[in-house]
């Protein structure tokens, strides 16, 4: 039985649908991310799960109980807000104690629970401080402790790391994930940061304009994006459009793209494929051997731009066919060679050609 079931939830604000027919489950102890650009409906979905919004259609089940009609204070789901929403007139300890007080938990039980959770997030020494006396990272830990101490069935996180600076955000990512795994708590995490979602989640649900685009593991999402939107949103992608001819996609500019096995579309239909820049290789010699040419998608290209990114060069090229393509070239071996205007050969394996559904 999943800890959380979202079933066909739709919510409209005025005429616009904020969330349209969204369904997903989160298994016991699973870390699920809702990922998408702002306005995609991910936060609305989270607030519906918390009970702060009532869906127009659909149901929410937490631990097997239909809670759709229950107010937030009768649900076992606690929410960590983007701005933490710590009570400014209460100390750290009072903030954490709040949920237990509302549940009328006796002092003898509440005391140790508060102590344990404050130890867990490393805020025990600062329990007498007020929120305004804490740094962003500390406030974030307190907000987490306040939500965890009530032992919710589902922990909801609304972009909790987005107000932290880059370095701290990286640390908190790891810390939060470790904490979640230690407590084995079912978690729904809302973010617009694809890197964050990939790094932390068991499963990522990509949303766009109120609907789910893809619900998959991080690796599957990256390697097998289902739609053009996902391909572009997760990492970056060269998206090539064309018509299927003899099992290859032929672009308007004349490039023929081979694809693995059964993934090709039916003859004559329009199609779209994506290739990750990481998978595109750049050969400085003019031509590949005949054997290699048979195994790869190969094209001649001219370097239009090379931009240094630390561990790699981002190399933008124009193919002789007129299509544009980007590749990541490992930095150590390429420094002197990526001369703008020089002619190179690019190639990639057909298995790295991903068919995707174009965005309407």
């Amino acid at each position: 039985m999943p800890s959380l079931s979202v079933r066909s939830v739709t919510k409209e604000f005025g005429a616009a649908a904020a969330v349209r027919d969204v369904s997903f489950d989160a298994g016991e102890g699973e870390f699920v991310s809702l990922l998408g650009p702002s306005g995609c409906g991910k936060t609305t979905t989270l607030r519906i799960i918390a009970g702060l919004l009532v869906p127009d259609v659909g149901t929410i089940e937490i631990a097997g109980n239909d809670v759709t009609a229950l107010p937030p204070y009768r649900r076992s789901a606690s929410l960590v807000f983007q701005n933490y929403a710590l009570f400014p007139h209460m100390t750290v300890r009072e903030n954490v104690a709040f949920g237990l007080r509302m549940r009328a938990i006796a002092k003898e039980e509440a005391g140790p629970r508060i102590r344990d959770i404050l130890d867990l997030v490393g805020m025990r020494e600062l329990e007498g401080r007020y929120p305004r006396q804490l740094s962003g990272g500390q406030q974030q830990r307190v907000a987490l402790a306040r939500s965890l101490v009530v032992q919710p069935s589902v922990l909801l996180l609304d972009e909790p790391l987005s107000n932290l600076d880059a370095k701290l955000r990286e640390e908190m990512r790891i810390e939060l994930r470790q904490l979640q795994q230690r407590l084995k708590i079912t978690t729904v995490f809302v973010t617009h940061d694809q890197e964050e979602a990939l790094a932390m989640s068991d499963r990522v649900i990509v949303m766009r304009a109120g609907s789910i685009q893809q619900d998959a593991s991080p690796t599957e999402l990256f390697n097998r994006p289902r739609t053009e939107f996902v391909a572009r949103f997760i990492g970056s992608a060269n998206v090539l459009t064309g018509t299927w001819r003899n099992g290859t996609l032929q672009t308007a500019a004349g490039l023929r793209i081979r694809i693995d096995g059964s993934h090709a579309g039916s003859e004559g239909t329009r199609g779209m494929t994506a290739v990750r820049p990481q998978n595109v290789k750049v050969a400085m010699s003019a031509a590949l051997s005949a054997q290699d040419a048979g195994r790869f998608n190969v094209a001649a290209a001219t370097i239009a731009l090379a931009s240094y990114r630390g561990s790699y060069w981002l190399c933008c090229m124009r193919l002789d066919s007129g299509d544009e393509i980007q590749a990541h070239v490992a930095a150590d071996e390429s420094d002197p060679k990526l001369v703008i205007g020089s002619t190179v050969t690019i190639y990639w394996e057909p298995r790295h050609t991903i068919p995707v559904i174009p965005d309407s």
Partner: protein
């Protein structure tokens, strides 16, 4: 040279400011001065200075009774308008129902009506309603308090809704997801964070009611007089130092209320409204 000009400019600005203060405060100074005359009439220069006008004021039952009445009415109007104003603000600020903006303006409307018109209208209203239901309302203490609520409510709504808008709604949502029903959320989260605006609202409501003259003129019953009415009567009858003494006490009460307010809340928070998180 340039520096000297800046210095001169600054000097001129502060001189104007001090002049403005002086013009505003001079009449109050004059009243305090008059109240200390050792005389039954206002004669300048005074024959001497003493506290006898204060003695005669406190000896007069009329004065004391009017202070007491003003106080009871002001406290009553403050408490009622504070409760109603807070509830109205919650509805207007948090509810955001159709027409809530219009309602917010309607609540402020009494500020735009001259007190004397308001007083007359309320008197006629109470008189008619009282006649219809067979209970005398006009001229009672209750009617006076209710009428003052009309005057004080715009202030309490303004201050409490200003206070409420600065409270992050996420705080209330957080409390609810942590298991607090709406009333407990209000009591433990919203109310403590509104305290500054509640104090400000209370003080302004109190002062508005305490100093209200025109409206009360119509509504006081036989034998009921508030301080401003007594002052008006005395001034039109015979302006002597005891009137100045009474006015001084009146000013002192207002001043003390404002000092308490700024001490408790801080002037910038009353008018500026700080973010609470």
């Amino acid at each position: 040279m340039a520096l000297g000009r800046v210095g001169a400019g600054r000097f001129a600005t502060s001189a104007v400011a001090w002049l403005a203060y002086l013009i505003m405060l001079a009449p109050i100074g004059a009243i305090v001065w008059l109240s200390l005359f050792d005389s039954d009439i206002i004669a300048i220069p005074p024959p001497g200075y003493s506290l006898r006008s204060y003695q005669s004021m406190f000896a007069s039952g009329n004065f004391i009774a009017s202070f007491r009445l003003s106080l009871v009415v002001a406290v009553g109007a403050t408490v009622i308008s504070l409760a109603l104003g807070t509830l109205a603000s919650i509805a207007i600020v948090r509810g955001k129902f159709p027409g809530s903006d219009i309602l917010a303006s309607v609540f402020l409307a009494p500020l735009a009506v001259p007190g004397i018109v308001l007083g007359l209208a309320i008197y006629i209203f109470f008189f008619k309603v009282g006649a219809a239901i067979g209970i005398r309302i006009a001229g009672t203490m209750t009617s006076l308090i209710l009428a003052h609520v009309v005057l004080t409510l715009p202030w309490t709504i303004r201050f409490t809704s200003a206070g409420l808008t600065t409270i992050d709604k996420n705080l209330e949502d957080a409390a609810m997801t942590l298991g607090a029903p709406p009333l407990r959320t209000f009591w433990h989260v919203t109310f403590p964070l509104m305290r500054a605006s509640l104090v400000a609202a209370a003080v302004f409501a109190f002062l508005t009611s305490y100093n209200a003259l025109e409206m009360s003129l119509f509504l006081v019953g036989p034998g009921m007089t508030t301080v401003p009415i007594v002052l008006l009567q005395r001034v039109s009858w015979n302006f002597d130092p005891s009137v100045a003494a009474m006015a001084t006490v009146q000013v002192a009460i207002s001043a003390v209320a404002l000092i308490i307010l700024t001490r408790l809340v801080g002037a910038e928070r009353i008018f500026g409204g700080q973010r609470s998180s």
